[in-house]
Amino acid sequence: MNYFPDEVIEHVFHFVNSNKDRNSISLVCKLWYRIERFSRSSVLVGNCYAISPERVIARFPCLKSLFLKGKPHFADFNLVPEDWGGYVYPWIKCLEKNRSKLEELRLKRMIVTDDSLELIAKSFSNFKSLVLVSCERFTTDGLAAIAANCRYLRELDLQENEIEDHRGQWLNCFSECCTSLVALNFACLKGDINLAALERLVARSPNLKSLKLNRTVPVETLHRILVQAPQLVDIGVGSFVCDPESETFFKLTALLQKRQSVRSLSGFFEMTLYSVPAIYPVFPNLISLNLSYAPAFPGEELIKILQLCRKLQKLWVLNCIGDKGLKIVAHSCKELQELRVFPSGDGDGNATVTEEGLVAISSGCPKLNSLLYFCEQMTNAALITVARNCPNFIRFRLCILDPTKPDATTLKPLDEGFGAIVQACKGLRRLSISGRLTDQVFQYIGMHAKNLEMLSVAFAGDSDKGMLHVLNGCEKLNKLEIWNCPYGDGALLNNVRKYETMRSLWMSSCNVSMGGCRMLAKSMPQLNVEVINEYGFLNRDGDDGQLVDKLFVYRTLVGPRMDAPDFVWTL
């Protein structure tokens, strides 16, 4: 291949899009490294502190699309204190300084201020796509800046962010010449928006395929929008409170009967049972349905809906669907690939799900490859059956609401069950385990889960051996997060070189001590060993024996970060 001119090689690289493959290409030789870096347009930085923005831009000057991840995953569950970090502003500033032609920015678990949004809006004239997932610290003023300045905006996708809503008129700020919108998702906003402005925006966006409304948009507006935008494929219906007597109800039903193109629904924040029949015509064509934010309905009602969804591939529901509901899903939704069952908050007599529901789904839906399942109880027998029925799992996350509950029938630990899962599912990349678990389950994981990239563990294991099985056995391990397990310095220090091959390690409420952390930091200078002294009980220069409650270890090319707050110590 080296006989070809550079342009040809570059042309070939153009067809290689996966980041992993591109990374591999760049390691072949200096020539390929050089060619690859100039042709790379999309970069994923899985840990924003592993590298500095300057170095990223220096290496990839033609960068057009950037995906940054900030806080550790457990920040989702309030385990990472406020102000830990993950600021996006330095990245934007650096990109702006280097006159980057950034077009797409995707951020997950980062702190995004209005200043950052304004800077994005003003610095990148060709900016097309902003996706913010689980971010915080910005307000609708920042959104207004984006709307006003990004003429060619195609995508504004806000997923589960904490946004301070100033109830300003941010939606009005979309200029009249902005006609390129393809996707708009503001479902997580809490405040009112200007409905007329929304309708006008939809009317002048002929390419709009995905629109997700927030809970303040009334169903009449939804109807008018649907009339204006027959090309919509993915709809977040907002509150969906629709009086079955009203004209809107009938108009909506009539309209949707003709709309065969809708493939994905979400929202339903305040849906009442009687409103649902208005959208019955849509269900048979649905590929994706998210009812996880709907009020907790009795399972029987959900069953009526789900029986219609014969083509469903992705389903997110609350556990009030019950085992009975899941059996219906298993019967009706043969194409199901991804299922998430969330807890509904107050089990006020609503049914919940158990191992029966999961077994039913596994036998009815052989294509299932991604699962997040919050349940009352589980058994080894059930997990063994599930493993046999569905060997294609890529993501398997099981959360028993009582974190140390054993097998519900035999009262044994759930080691055998999860062992069966890792043994059968050769392609398993992500695993979360719960329930009563001993070191045995980790032995199974270390032995069989050769493709495992991310493991989340809580309240499990008996000794350091558990963690060691995983560190030594899982070759592709990338992220390990542990909470409330009896692992100490022995486990932490046994295989320190492993952490270099991983993105990060999180350990909280375990048995690691300051001494262990110091030792780790000393022997592995290319890691940042962050001790998070949230409650202020640790003494930085004190005793080695102090127990460290929160530890975050990650590999980095740029040493200790400069923006760490005073309760985070990089040893």
Binding site: D76, F77, N78, L79, E160, E162, K190, D243, P244, E245, F269, E270, T272, L273, Y293, P295, A296, F297, P298, E301, P343, S344, G345, D346, G347, D348, G349, N350, A351, T352, F374, E376, Q377, C399, L401, D402, P403, T404, P413, S432, R436, T438, A458, A460, G461, D462, N484, C485, P486, S509, N511, E534, Y535, F537, L538, N539, D543, Q546, L547, D549
Partner: protein, 349 residues
Amino acid sequence: MTPPLLGVGEECQSNVTLPSSSASLKASSKNLELHERNYMMGLFGCPTIKGPAAAGVFGDCKSNLNLKATELRLGLPGSQSPDRGVDLSSGEPDEKLLFPLHPSNNSHSGNKRGFADAMNTNGASEGKFMANSDVKAMLSPRSGTNIGQKSQPGLESAGPKAPRGVEGATLQVTQEQPSSGIKESRAAGTPAPKAQVVGWPPIRSYRKNSLAATSKNVEEVDGKAGAGAVFLKVSMDGAPYLRKVDLRNYSAYQELSSSLEKMFSCFIIGQYGTNGARGKEKQGDNMPKDAMDGTDYVLTYEDKDGDWMLVGDVPWEMFLDTCRKLRIMKGSDAIGLAPRATDKCKSKN
């Protein structure tokens, strides 16, 4: 070695030393703190957290619970006793009086589960996510201020509540919800760690907050599990305007019928006033009945298919499901239905 999180332990202790009160609310919330303290000590105080030890911690909770369960009997009238799960029928009338939940509501089974679990295993609880957030306020002084700043809708507590910790949170949670008795007893009947530990269950805080907000809304609106009120139009022939009724308020046809009679009585009186036929101005149930006798009013409804049906043929639940509109027809209009209507009126006599 400095015992970590000593402050947490202290805070827990300060919560535990409440002034002893006979109110079961306080007693139960004390239970919760005790459980929580045990659990927290297990988490942070013990140098080695082994599986069996953890189970031991839960075991402690369990034994505490069994004792405390009896205390609940002193509490609210009609509140559940430990063997409530067995004895549903006798408990029901009280339930209905106190709690706006529909009698056939599965809340009984939910409660039963709570206790059974407390007795047998380490139980499952749907968790109290609001309390969870409040616990966070207690545990993390730094984060506690954050709650105040963020002003999330689901969270009851702002900064000021933080020092009061779980006790304040628990009281607040139980007072807010109509089914407080059930929640209280179930809460005390399940191991505390489930519901009140930061980070568990592992749901994104955004989702947790919005769940809390939704469940609050639903319960405030109608106190029933799940669906909201269902308002249907009721028209009456000859009346100048229509009314709306919420079918969920009734549990049988008789209730609906008498309520409609009361609602439309003014029109019937008016009619007779102008006609001068009877000139009665009686109040209460008698008058409408007599009026119905005289002019053969028939209650009909329009169903899902658009057909007008006579009210009363199908079971109440099915009626709720299929009814779209109500209409009080004059007997003379309801030609096909008239014979039945006459019979109905006769049976009323």
